[in-house]
Symmetry: C2
Subunit: 481 residues, 2 copies
Amino acid sequence: MSQTDLVTEITKQSEDFSRWYLDVVRRAELADYSPVKGCMVIRPYGYAIWELIQRELDDRFKATGHVNAYFPLFIPESLLMREAEHVEGFAPQVAWVTKGGDEVLEEKLIVRPTSEVIIGTMYAKWIKSWRDLPVLINQWANVVRWEKVTRPFLRTTEFLWQEGHTAHETEAEAHEETLRILALYKEFCETVLAMPVVDGQKSESEKFAGASRTYSIEALMGDGRALQAGTSHDLGQNFAKAFEIQFQGRDKSLQHAWTTSWGVSTRLIGGVIMTHGDDSGLILPPRVAPYQVVVVPISRGNWRETVLPRAQEIRGELQRAGVRVMLDDRDSQTPGWKFAEWEMRGVPLRLEIGPKDIEKSQVVLARRDTREKAFVPMEALVGAVTMRLDEIQAALLARARAFREEHTSATNDYEEFKRMMEGRPGFIIAPWCGSHECEAAIKAETQATIRNIPFDSPAPTAPCLKCGQPADVSAWFAKAY
Amino acid sequence: MSQTDLVTEITKQSEDFSRWYLDVVRRAELADYSPVKGCMVIRPYGYAIWELIQRELDDRFKATGHVNAYFPLFIPESLLMREAEHVEGFAPQVAWVTKGGDEVLEEKLIVRPTSEVIIGTMYAKWIKSWRDLPVLINQWANVVRWEKVTRPFLRTTEFLWQEGHTAHETEAEAHEETLRILALYKEFCETVLAMPVVDGQKSESEKFAGASRTYSIEALMGDGRALQAGTSHDLGQNFAKAFEIQFQGRDKSLQHAWTTSWGVSTRLIGGVIMTHGDDSGLILPPRVAPYQVVVVPISRGNWRETVLPRAQEIRGELQRAGVRVMLDDRDSQTPGWKFAEWEMRGVPLRLEIGPKDIEKSQVVLARRDTREKAFVPMEALVGAVTMRLDEIQAALLARARAFREEHTSATNDYEEFKRMMEGRPGFIIAPWCGSHECEAAIKAETQATIRNIPFDSPAPTAPCLKCGQPADVSAWFAKAY
C-alpha cells in the first residue's frame, strides 16, 4: 500500500517529461533501481510486457527460418581484438572479469557487449561448404555495456535483447537478410507496439563498429526526441575475414561468408511508455498489455455475495476468449482508487460492474486512451471487448502517426534549423552533403544527430544545410535518446 | 557434410558411457565446445529442447501463481557477504568483475552464481505488509560458477536455468511452497522428460548454502550413476534476517518473512540424453523432441516429381495437427544415411514414403525406441502418428522406471555395500544414523553420496551401515554426477 498510495503523484508530462518517465516506470512497477550501479530490476509487470514482445518477435523470426541458440557470456580478450573497428568501438565500454574463484585469469574475459566475435568463432568451425549456408541463428540474452549515465529501459549497464547473427553465400543474400529483418522490426513495432518508425540507413559515423552498413528504425517520443528502436547490420565480409568464416563455394573455390547481425532490446519498453503515455501514466497497446482488461466490481453492500460471483464469471468468459484479464477484488481499496491505479498502469480497457448493472444485465466499459465509457449488454460482452481492444490498438497507432507527422518538418536553412532545434521539434528533414565534418558540427551546435536516411527520403532540392556544397541526401535529424 | 559423415562413429554406450555421452552431444549437434574455458555453446537442436522444457515449466509456474521478473547479473561483493553460510558456499566459485570500461571498480562485483542476495535486497524494499505476501517470482537467467572440471550440460562454468524466489507470511506456507515446487518438478520430469525421479530431503552436508532444508529430485542415468535433477530450498528466515525482509503482520507486529528458492537448469538436457539414449545415439521423448517425426522420401527415379509433393502434403497435414515435423528432402544424402542420421539425433518417429507406398496409399512408420516398423494407410496417418507418439512417451518412462527398479537395491551390511558400489549398481538403500562423520567416511571410501532421504523411505530396520549406532533413516546412496 505504501507505494501505491502515491498514484496521483506522477509528475505531469508537460511539466517535466523526464521526471514523468521515471515516475511512471517506478509507480507502474515496471522496473526499479538496484544496488548495482547502472543496473535495473525488471519487475513482473514490466517483464510481462517483455515476454509478450519476445513471443511476437520469436514467432516472426521462426516464420522466416531462424532458430535460437545460446553462446557464452564471456569472451576472451584476444577474440575481441581480432576485428579492429569492433574493438575500438566496444573496448571502452566493457566489463572485465579478471578472477575466477581464487585464480587470477591468465587471459582476461569480457562480459559480452554483443556477440559477433564469439559467434563468428563458432561459425568458422561449423561452416565448411556452401551447403551449410545460410546459417540463421538468433540468441535471446543479456549483454553488458559500461555506461556512465543510465535510465531505466533506455540505457542500462546490463540489458536484455535478442541478437540475430546470420551467414550467407553471397553479398546479395546477406543484404537481403539485413533489410528483411529491418522490415520485420518495422512491421512488429507498428502492428504490435503501435509505434510508428522511420526505416533507413545510418550515416557512416553512426554505423555499428565493424559493419559495412547499418540500418535502423527510429521512433518519435512524446517529448519530440527520437529513439533508435532497432538496428540491422550488413557486416559484409569484415567479420568473416577477421574470424576466418570460409566455405567451399559451388565452384569449389574457398570464399569468405557474408554476415549480418541485428537486434532489439528491452529499450522497446521505454519506447512504448514514451510513445503512448499521458499525464495519468502509462497507456499500453492491447497486444503488449499484460492485462488487457481490468474488471473492477463496484463494492456496495454485500458485493462479495452479489457482484463478485458475476465478475468472476465474466473473467472466465473473457479468458476463454483469449483476453488477458485482471479481476481486482481487493477489499482494501475503493473502486475509485482502483480506477486511478489501473489507469496509471495503462490497462487498455476497464470493465465496471455493480449491483445496478447486474439488474440491467449490463456492464460499463471505459477506454484508457479516449476515456470513453459505454454500457454494454452482458450477452454481447466478449464481442464488445475484443472489438474495443482492436480499436484501441489501431487508435494508438493512428495517434502516434499523427503526432509524428505534426512533429516532422523540413528546412534548407541552417539558421532556421538551429532555431527549430532549440525546442523539441521532432524530426527535421534537411539536405546533407554526406561529410562527417558537417554532421559533427551540426551535432556540436544543436545536439541534433542524423537519425537515418530513410529509404523513401526525397532527393535533396537544396545544397547541404551546413556547408553549402551539393547535398547528397535528405537526412532526418533529431535530438535523440 | 564433414561432420555428419561421422554418424556411425559414436562410441558404444557399453564400451565407454562417458565418451558415448560426449559423442552424442557433439554429433547430434546439441552443444559444442567454445573458446571460453568451461563454457559451451548450446546449438540450435539442443536449444530447441531447452525451449520446449522452458515452455512446459513456465506454464506450470504460471498456473501455480508465479510471475517472471529479471534481476541484475552482477552482485556487489558486500551483498554476497551478508549471509555467512551462503558466502562460504559460493565465494570460492564465483567470477569477479574488477574493471568496467577504463575504471577499476571501487567495489568488486561477482557474476551471479545464484540470486538470493540480490533478490533478497529487492524484496526488503518491496515487502512492507502481510498484504504484500506471498511474493512468487521466477527468473529465467544465466548463472556462472567457476568449475574446474566441466562436461556439456552437466557441469559448465556458465549455465542457463530458472530460479524461483518466494517470500511468505508463515513458516508453514513457505514449507508448503518448497514441497509444491518439488512435486511440480517431479511431475514435469516424469510427464515431459519421461525421466522418473526420487523426491526427498538432502542431508545437512548436501544442503544449499544458507538453507534450512533442501529437497531434491534424483534421477538414475543409463550408467547407474545418479543425477540431481532439481532442488527446492526452504530458506527459513535466514535470508530474511540477513537482508531485512520484514513486514507488518496481521497483528501489527514487525516480522521477518519466510523465503524459498528452487531451480532446474540445462542440466536436464544431460539427464534426457543419459536416461534414454542407446548405442545408436539419442532417443528423445516426443514432448521435448524438436522434431517428433522425420519424413524421409525414398529417392528413386523422378522422386522430386512423384514422392516429394506427397511428402510435403504429409508434412502440412501433420503440422496442422500440431506435430513437429522435419522433412529431409536433401538431394545430397541417401535415404539410408538419413535413417541413421535421424536415429542418432533421436527423432522419435520416422515416416518413410516411396513410389510403391504412394501406389498403395500407405506410409511406413518406424519407432526410434523399439525400431518397430508398420505400414499405415494414408487416410489414418494423423491418428497413427499421434497415437504412436503417446505410446513412445509412455514406453520411455516405463523403460526408465524398470531400469531404475532393476538398479535399486538395499543392504544393511557395509562390506556388501562397498562391494556393490565397486560397479555401477544404481541406488543402494541403507540405514544411516544421520551423522556427518558416517556420511563423509562412506563417501571417502566408496565415492557414494547420500542422494536424498525419500519422503516414502521406509523406517530403517537395522543400525547405521557405517557406525552401527541406531539408524535415523533409510538413505538412498549412489555415485553421482
